[in-house]
């Protein structure tokens, strides 16, 4: 009886959360565009522009190219959207995730990667040589940043395990409830900063923006990956892009910024959940501004081999440094 009740509750909360997440992702995307414009001394679009875009695209004709593999071409945007939405079920908003006990960080990383792979498949399926180039770049980029990303996550889990943070080491809820910054010493903090910086560089690659908007580079390969998409399919992809930025921001927030407003204000009881729930989105907004908006305003676009080299050499080196520093810190205990 109770398990059925919990299941119903989870379904209800999950659906409500996903609806909220879609709205917030689009709003944050709009805010990102405004802040981006203001940093360039422009006025920028209205806050609701991404919503208008999606609504407009929903009413447009959905064209599938004659030479495309229709099944994969149409499946890709839907699958990408579903996979990206699923991420939010495993991310603790405040302190608890909807499916916190069913999945951990490894699953989140896999879901993120799968979103990328699915979009690359859609690009290949379109039959357009430019989309093929875009998809090829997406896969190359993914292979480059996955290694440093895996290193960051495994190091974090190892820290959680060795420093005795309560909860399963790979679960995000563990990091959301106890600050990892307090779990290690000064050397470890430097190591954590290294890992954090690695993530700052990995995020643009993961979401294809900023200096890493190589698969979609519009002045080179005309939005590459999504060049053949139109109508509903394109709307879904646009939504997926907004959600990916949002998802990775929530992921970074849960991992590195577990500041609790309720804790700071000393509020207890029922308010803890409410305050933390609201404050979580504020934190995500700040993280997204730094990781996405600031990065894409400050840099031009790299070439694919330069980006790949950057991840495999520099960022991997940075995360390795973080790993060694954290190991030293914990071993020295």
């Amino acid at each position: 009886m109770t398990s059925i009740f919990i299941l119903c509750l989870k379904i209800f909360v999950g659906v409500a959360l996903l609806a909220l997440v879609v709205v917030l992702a689009l709003l944050f995307d709009g805010a990102d565009r405004i802040v981006h414009a203001r940093m360039q001394r422009r006025v920028g679009p209205p806050l609701l522009q991404p919503v208008y875009d999606i609504v407009k695209l929903m009413g447009k004709e959905n064209i599938v190219p004659r030479r495309a593999s229709r099944f994969f071409f149409t499946l890709a945007p839907w699958l990408a959207l579903v996979v990206t939405l699923m991420i939010f079920l495993y991310i603790p908003v405040g302190s608890r995730a909807v499916l916190g006990t069913e999945g951990d960080m490894i699953l989140i990383v896999y879901l993120l990667a799968m979103g990328g792979v699915v979009m690359a498949v859609g690009g290949f399926a379109g039959g357009n040589p430019i989309a093929n180039i875009g998809a090829g770049r997406e896969v190359t980029l993914m292979m480059s940043y996955e290694f440093p990303l895996a290193m960051v996550i495994s190091t974090m889990a190892w820290v959680a395990y060795r420093s005795g943070m309560p909860g399963p080491p790979f679960s995000l809820e563990t990091f959301a409830s106890v600050s990892v910054w307090k779990a290690v010493g000064e050397v470890g903090d430097v190591g954590l900063v290294c890992l954090f910086l690695s993530l700052v560089f990995i995020v643009p690659g993961e979401i294809g923006k900023g200096p890493m908007d190589i698969p979609e580079a519009k002045t080179e390969i005309l939005d590459g990956l999504i060049i053949e998409y139109s109508g509903v399919n394109l709307a879904l992809l646009k939504l997926t892009f907004a959600l990916r930025s949002f998802a990775i921001s929530t992921f970074v927030t849960s991992l590195f910024v577990p500041v609790s407003l309720a804790g700071l204000l000393g509020v207890g009881g029922f308010f803890v959940a409410v305050f933390d729930f609201l404050f979580f989105w504020v934190k995500v907004f700040i993280v997204q501004m730094i990781f996405v908006t600031l990065m894409r305003t400050s840099f031009g676009r790299l070439k694919i081999w330069q980006a790949s080299q950057f991840y495999v050499m520099r960022v991997a080196g940075l995360s390795l440094t973080g790993m060694i520093l954290l190991s030293l810190d914990i071993m020295a205990r």
Binding site: M39, Q40, R41, R42, V43, P46, P129, I130, I133, G136, P211, D213, I214, A217, K218, T219, E220, I221, L222, T297, S298, F299, G300, R301, L302, K303, I304, W305, Q306
Partner: protein, 413 residues
Amino acid sequence: MSTTYTIPVGPVHVGLKEPVTAWLELDGERIVSARVRPGAIHRGIEFMARERNPIQVIYLSERICGICSFSHVMCFIRAVEDLANLSVPVRAQYIRTLVLELERVHSHLLWAGVACYTIGFDSAFHLGMQLRERVMDVLELLSGNRVNYGVATFGGVRWDVTPQLDKAIREMIRYYRREFTPFREIVMEDPVAQARMRNVGVLTREDAVCYSATGPTARASGLRVDLRKSSPYEAYADIPVEPVVPQDYFDAARGDVLDRFAVRVLEVYQSLDILEKALDGLPEGPFVAEPNLNKVLVSLKKAEGTGWGIIEAPRGDDTHAVHLKGGDDNVFWWKVRAPTYANAVSWPVMFRGNELADAPLIINSIDPCISCMERMMVTGSSAGVVTKAELLKRCRQKTFDLKARGFERGVER
């Protein structure tokens, strides 16, 4: 096994501002060979000129290009003056030089912005566009237009330099000396911009010579070539100009896109110096030899012969050849060679060994001639949709404001 495939860049492409097609044969991302096919925007302007008289052709030549319109006008006028032996008052020569240099500043700024846009560095692009507004306002103050100024005519110019314009240009020079350096540093010292432009689209000194590259494209390859020095025309006879070449400022001339960027940026500073000298040395006197256009037309009707006008336009040397037939009202034949025409021959050489990602940047790096006349005004966040009539009204109002209330207000809106 290695297979190649062919991809067209253009004729309509986000990264290109004019319709031109480059068929690239790719091996992965690497360009194996390239074939450039222009012609998408051939308008037969030279053919049209055969049914127009020389004064009408001045305004036709102005419409060849929106950016270097004054260069084409000057080139055509100099060709006609060459064949008809018209003399130009000294003051007019100085005013022509002023407008030529103003145009160079605005062309180079536009190009620098577009180059940043091509590598995805949108912030620098917007900064460049904003810097460019100042010189556009000065040109508007001079002629009432942002492009296609209608300033030059046979034997002189049509607008004089007023004390107000003198002040505005001097203020503009100060503004650029202050504001332009940060822009240059933002782009040239940015690691990503360097990674994208260094050793990309290399045109060696030898190739630049063979393929008759001109202007900043040739100078970036290390050739000291500048018509303002080698055959001084107009007021350049009194104002010495040295070609800007990278080896004088950096260790060596590599002939890549970054060098082309540097040459153009440094030429902006050079243009500011020339502007200052031209303003200081502006002689008194008439600014046109014969203000009555009918008399000019009658004298041109008698003229017979072929004339050659060649000047250093912002993108390279611009060549016009004109033939007038005695007793005929119209231009008999006319040949225009824009600098891009010469530089485009080097494209296949520059593409060699580069990547697809570099292609639009390489095409843009010679600064292909662009007809760009967009103009947008935003007044507050709720501007709404502006009709053409309303836009025209506001354009005129802005020019009046510029002339009536001074320069600062027009810019700092």
